[in-house]
Every structure is written in structure tokens, then in C-alpha cells.
Symmetry: C2
Amino acid sequence: MRAATLRCVLALSLLPILATAQSAPPTTASVLAEAPASDWEPIDPANLLVMEVAGGQVLIELAPQFAPEHVGNIRQLAKQHYFDGLAIVRVQENYVVQWGDPEGETEQRRSLGEAKPKLPAEFSRGHGELPFLALPDPDSYAPRTGFSLGFPVARDERETWLVHCYAMVGAGRGGPADSSTGAELYTVIGHSPRHLDRNITLVGRVIEGLDRLTVLPRGGGAMGFYETPEQRVALRRVRLASDLPESERPRRERLRTESASFAKLVEARRFRREDWFVNPVGRVEVCNVPLPVRVAQP
Amino acid sequence: MRAATLRCVLALSLLPILATAQSAPPTTASVLAEAPASDWEPIDPANLLVMEVAGGQVLIELAPQFAPEHVGNIRQLAKQHYFDGLAIVRVQENYVVQWGDPEGETEQRRSLGEAKPKLPAEFSRGHGELPFLALPDPDSYAPRTGFSLGFPVARDERETWLVHCYAMVGAGRGGPADSSTGAELYTVIGHSPRHLDRNITLVGRVIEGLDRLTVLPRGGGAMGFYETPEQRVALRRVRLASDLPESERPRRERLRTESASFAKLVEARRFRREDWFVNPVGRVEVCNVPLPVRVAQP
């Protein structure tokens, strides 16, 4: 293990350069502990989907800046109580949990009501006014990756798009690129399937309660679909937080990805200077940076 | 969505170049269907750890070429029935499932018997005779990634190391780099935590039954540890397949990562030329390539 020792020495020798003015190098915990209130931002209740399943709530932050048409439809569907009584129909190991209308492909499907039956694919956006905190490290899939408005993103010279990290939520589609409506949703529960980027419209991410979904039995059918109606898991109630009575409304805030604290967090994750790490890698991948959320402070 | 249409046209225009001699571009399914028997390889029963938990078996292929000392210890521990009656002690969402002796830090710990109490860290190997199928695409963490002897690996100019993809199995350690013995093991159940590469000794990967672990309730304690003994999940029996009677021995084979079929599979994963993909990305990341395993053919 002489080589390992050498690497260790090299890594240590970099520390004085990296540690800049601070006495102790920052860790994820220390960055969060020191973040000023102004670096946190309340999550808009109109962007917070509250999904009740057996065991409790799953909270999803919607991303209207990236998929305005789909988020509009999801808001409308929630207002109509469209999802209530529908079900989780698919749980595929190392891939996705998917929910919607089990009769979605049949004549018995539930009406979309005032939601739009047809939406454009919203795979990417022009950069426009989107903020962008770029990661300096290479990515296997995109020219550039980073963060924008609380979400992990990638970009090229012309466009920005949400990326398929663990916990991201997307709108299932059929063959045509524009066949998703937001009535059928999924979330990622395995190694981030980044090949789906720009192939499905991502609409948000699970910010709390994902473990109510990841523990569900995997489906035995093709692609992890449950094989019988009894295996499906009911969606008891799905509402926008803004449509819930004040007393039932979950209040969450997230660390702004445009804040100085988040930039520090990224550096803490890149270098992992805690004692335990023998080889702090000095790099990070976009799906390995936590996007901190907390109960709103009074 | 004009830009999306443009990208679509560009992607399609590449197809004639990529399709080479074949009429239909290969898919994962077609590559596997066409792989000759010689591209499959039986998994050595001396490298196959059979772990029985509630619900059934979890099969782990050990990697003696990468962590010979740890695999030696794990084989010895299994022979001694060391793991029988120990437990899964930690399930952390989007991270790891960990098992071993709940009393591992106390005087009541189970004896390691003839297994070695101290091993060297086995974070990486000299290239030596290791085969290496390189991926052409960039990686966020390592100069080069690819596959060797059935495992996902990274390498630099001097060394090769196993990487922390979903399902990889490692040997837990404390503060010192050489404090792992193989008596405490974990597997990855979330987005691949590649920052752990070269910081813990990886010893193999789960090749079957991982969903018996991923569905377990997450632990409520710090880092996902279970808080009471009742929450822990018993390890009923852990054996090397080679130590089981012939009639109980699972027989599995894997697609050789050194075979022509595996190289084709990698290309099929990079381009995803199936009809559904609007934007076949043309790249792949090391943890997004399946490592196919099947029941041994008679």
C-alpha cells in the first residue's frame, strides 16, 4: 500500500492551499449550521405537492421555471382531486417508482377534466434569466452541470435542462415526445438514469418522504409493474400545499442554490476534508450534492 | 420546442454512421439474445457468497483480484459461520445497507476466529495483468473508467480500483484506513457515492436479490442505524456457495466484460437507439451499464 500512502501525503499537502482563511475546513454540517437565514428560501406552497400514501406524506417541489405547462397541468389535476384514489403502479429496482391511473391506457381512464390533454415536451429551456451555479468538474453526459433555482441542471451553449438525479420527478410519456400530460408521474429511486435527460419532461423533485416509496415491494411484472390490482399502493390524497387549509399546510424552506452557503457546501462536498477521508477526491458529480431542505423556521 | 426538433434531426442523421453492418441497431435485449455461450462465464462458487435473510437469498460475487486479503477473510468468516445470527444494523436512504455484529464496538463482540484481525487497506491495485475495457466518455471522478473481470473500475496511470456503483459491496472501516476486516459489510442502495472510491475497500457486488435489502425500513438513528435491537434484520445463514452441498448451491454465470458481446452492450447503452429515445445521448457513465448475470445454462 505504498502508493496509497503517497496519495495520502499528496492530499494532505494540498490542504493548506485549500483551507484559505478558515481555521477548520468546512463540512456539510458546518456549512448548514452557519448559513444565515437569508440563504434559505421558503418553498412556494403553489409549488409544493403533498402526496399522501400509506405511512404518511411525500412532499414534491414542482419546477415551474423548467416545465411550466406540465406544472400547470399538475396543479390543475391536484385541484380537481384527480390523483385521489389512483395508485402507485410500478416499482422497479434501481430505477423508478411510478404512479397514476391504472386504467390510463383503457376507456375506463379517469377524465383529465380541465387539465390539458396535450402538452408540448418540456425537455429543456433557453438559458434566459435562469441563474446557474456551474460545477467545475466533468460530467459523463453533458458539457456542463450545476444548479439553478434549487434543482440540479445541465446546460450546453444554448439550453438548460433538469437532470435525472435520485429523487427527481418526471412525467411519464408514451412513444411521442409530447405524449406526457403530468397525469402519470415517476420518481428516480436508483443510480441516476441520466440517459433519460432531455427524453422525458422532469417536473420537480421529492424533497421529503421519499423513503415511503423506496421501501415498497418491487413489482414482479415487466419493468417493475405490479401484476395485480391488490399489489398497487393507493394514493390517498394529493394536493397542492396552497390548496390545503393553513393548519394542514407543510412549510418547508430550502437552501438557495444561488447563495454563498450553497457554494460553500459544494466545495465541502468536493473536498470532503473530514478526518475520515484518506483520498478526498477534489471533485463532485451533480447528483452527489445534497439540496438541503428544512422545516420553515418561525 | 424547435430546438428539440433540431436535436432530433441531428441524432437521426448520425444513425447510418453508427449502424455499421447490422440492419437493426443493437439493443441491450438483442445483444444478450445473440451472445454466444462462450461470452458467458460461470461464477466461481468460491467467489459467491450466499446470504440468507427474511424473504430469501442475496447473492454476492466477491472480487479476489481486487481485494484478495479481504475476500480471504470473508471466506474464512463464512466458513466459521461467523455471520449467522448477526444482523443488518443500518439502512440509510439513498446510501447504504450495512450488516455485521451489532456488538462489534463492544467487549461482547463475536470472535473473528481464524480470520485475520488486521488487514491492509485494499483501495486500489497496480494494473498488472488486469484486463480493462475503457469507456470513451468522461467521468466526474476519475481519469478513466471501464470494466475489468466483471466489475466496474476506474484507473489512472498507475492503478486500477473498483468503484462505488449501486449494488457494490464494501468493507466498513473506522478512522484508520486499514481498520476494515470484512466482518462488517455494506452495499450501495442509492445514487453511486463515488467519493468513497479509494476510501474504503470494495470487496464485490450484489448480483441477485438486492431488492430484499432495498425495501427494508430505513433506520431512524444517525446515519440510518436502527435504534433498537428489535428493528434489526437477522442474517439467517451466510455461506460461500462452494461450502454448500451441491444441491443447494446457486449456479450463476455472468457476461464476460472482456467479451465482444459486452462491448456491444456498452455501445447499445451509449446510443439507446430504440424508437423511444428522442435524444440518444451517445455517452454512458460507468455505473449506468448493466453487468448481466443469469442462471447457469445446463
